[in-house]
């Protein structure tokens, strides 16, 4: 997508940016997207958001402008990014990641005419009359894959690899554990976080993900769930080498992971960031934008488990049963 900029005459100043030319020619809505660290192409969280934008481009004819965060950047850099998107005329701004919470809050106050969406945050920091706070019930989706892992394990031991030990990733772990314990109260769960904030390299350390998962497989676990972004690739490699199974995260990784490891991905906890993004854009276009927190939970179809590959077909009914119980509230999944 980025290659397009080479087509622009040097010096024209208005170089079209990543992905901005992919959409239809319609003079639709102008959407600015501020990614978290990693940006478009991270094969993970940011890519899911990008997918939502791409869909909006092709289906709704909106125009997009994108920029990504840098590791360890200052708060002011985030604020400035949002402001520059607005200055460039992209007056519907999506901030991807909770790091933007404060910036969105302030930018929203300073630009009351601009519509904002923020992913993964529903705190007072980012709240505003022109802000949609999009959050996901990661713990609910994780509960389901946790249950799936417990149902499938032969060794009564499963694992969880977290990229960076943040509260957000902790939600995945807690839900996963609850799901597994709901099926087998005595199940043993190995947990490993690759790095601690503010060292976010745990989302990019394939080798560490691999080492962690290998350790789990070799000490008896047979299914490992990862919430480790790019490091998850290492978990899959380890599963493949050990002849064991893994669980993907965010998107349906049995479809997106490298072809040779897809068969070890038993299921994935799908977090539909793309849906959140698309819905926001659509709502703004429709004029049905509503400020406030929009929770994408199981009930709303914002999180789910995937069935690609058919490896969980045999337990699907049990999983759907749990799903129903969560939706109707008879099971409350803890989130921390």
């Amino acid at each position: 997508a980025c290659g397009s900029s080479t087509d622009t005459a040097p010096g024209s100043g208005s170089g079209s940016t990543a992905g901005s030319t992919a959409g239809g020619g319609g003079a639709g809505l102008k959407v600015g997207m501020a990614y978290d660290v990693g940006g478009r192409g991270d094969q993970s969280f940011n890519d899911a958001a990008a997918a939502g934008l791409d869909k909006a481009k092709s289906e709704l004819g909106v125009e997009g402008k994108e920029a990504a965060a840098v590791n360890g950047e200052a708060e002011s850099a985030r604020k400035e990014r949002l402001q520059q998107l607005i200055d460039a005329g992209y007056t519907n701004v999506i901030a991807v990641g909770f790091a933007y919470a404060k910036s969105v809050g302030e930018a929203a106050k300073a630009n009351p005419d601009v519509k904002f969406a923020i992913i993964d945050d529903a705190s007072p920091d980012s709240a505003g009359s022109n802000v949609e706070q999009i959050t996901f019930a990661e713990e609910q989706g994780s509960f389901l894959v946790g249950a799936a892992a417990a149902l499938k394990t032969k060794t009564n031991r499963i694992g969880f690899v977290g990229g960076v030990q943040t509260d957000l990733i902790k939600k995945f772990e807690v839900g996963y554990e609850a799901g597994a314990k709901a099926v087998k109260p005595d199940i043993k769960i190995d947990v490993k976080y690759l790095t601690q904030p503010p060292d976010f390299s745990g989302f990019a350390s394939v080798d560490k993900g691999k080492a962690a998962a290998e350790g789990m497989y070799q000490s008896g676990a047979d299914i490992v769930y990862h919430a480790a972004g790019g490091s998850g690739g290492g978990v899959f490699t380890a599963a493949k080498a050990a002849g064991k199974l893994a669980i993907g995260v965010d998107s349906d990784q049995a479809k997106t992971a490298p072809a040779d490891v897809r068969d070890v991905i038993m299921t994935s906890m799908v977090k539909k960031v793309d849906v959140g993004v698309f819905d926001f854009i659509k709502a703004v276009q429709d004029g049905s934008f509503k400020a406030g927190n929009k929770v994408f939970d199981l009930k709303a179809g914002g999180v789910d488990y995937s069935t690609t590959g058919g490896q969980v077909d045999d337990i699907k009914s049990k999983l759907d049963e749990y799903k129903q119980q969560i939706i109707d509230g008879s099971i409350t999944v803890p989130s921390s």
């Binding site: 980025c2 290659g3 940006g39 890519d47 976080y193 790095t195 601690q196 990019a204 080492a211 070799q218």
Partner: protein, 426 residues
Amino acid sequence: MSAAGLQAADVVREPEAARSRRTRPWWFWAAVVFGAVVVISTVRVLTGANDIDSTGALRAAIGLAVPIGLAGLGGLWSERAGVVNIGLEGMMILGTWGGAFVGYHYGPWAGILGALLLGVVGGAIHALATVVFGVDHIVSGVAINLLGAGAGAYLAVRTFTGLPGGGPTQSPPLQQLPFIGIPGLEQPLEDLAAKQWWLVSDLAGIVGALTTRVNVLVVVAVALLVLTWFVLWRTAFGLRLRACGESPQAAETLGVNVYRYKFTAVLVSGGMAGLAGGFLVLVASNLYREGQTGGRGYIGLAAMIFGNWRPGGLAGGAALFGYADAVQLRSGGDVIRAYLLPIGLLLVAWGVWQYLRRRAGKRMKGVPMVVMGVLALLWFLLSSSVPDEFTGMTPYVATLLVLAFASQRLRMPAADGAVYRKGEAS
């Protein structure tokens, strides 16, 4: 001329000359290693922390140690020639991009060359700044870290975006380099290791990790280590190179072209660091990923200093770090707890010995050790595992502890970091 007079003078000088600083013989180190295995094996049997030296843990350790070792080797080449190289991290990042880019388009073998080459480019910049322009070595190194990080990321955006499975921060998956091993050994060793016998299973685990399913690039790395030792300490080229790090003026007055040796050394240094990056993309991860080096260049530098600017020592430092990292990544809370036992005992013993040996005034030096040792032992007895929050620190704490107890004999090349200009011999 009076040979007798000379003898007399030599006798007079004896107090100085007597202080010889020979390095320890190889069997000393062999004995140390074997002793360590015995201790570890005993601890394993006593505590049941079987992952302490399992083949898997050791394989992971090797995988984590190699990039650090290669980076350290890069540091060694450059610093032995008198050029401080804090820019290893940047050169490594360049290597990751080079390895991935070339590896993707021309296959993993070519990828090795790509990584090497990009590292050499980083080395060339450092050499240009430090050797040709005589810039402060640390400044140049810091600049190269910035440059490497920026260039790697920038190039990745330009070259990986739009490739299948690639993106601005990530390359497409790369082909694997082959693994090799001594055929027919894997199964028997694995069986033996599984028996969990004292010493026997441990040795089987170690031999297994070293002889089976070893990536070719690991073999290359080990070969480079040995080759480095050979070239630097057993050839005329190496002698000249080291002389440039010890006394460039002396080398110059004997007809050595110091600039050329320094330049070459820094290029090789870059190549090694690049290869360290290449290992990350070609073996450890099978793809490029922004931020993948995660400060390993600095750790490599630390390993080299740890190893007293010697290949064997730096291999030891890298191995220690890699092993500790592997253990902690493999959720090794129980293994780390197991280590509290020998460490506690060692500290107590050392402290007591200090107390007994020292003169009255300095006896108290042993006391803190005993206290620390007792605390370690208590921790060992009262817990079943070290909490996960602490295991992550293990490699760093272990390195610091080892240094704190064994440092002091470090000696860097005498002219390391000094800017050399030709024609200043006097």
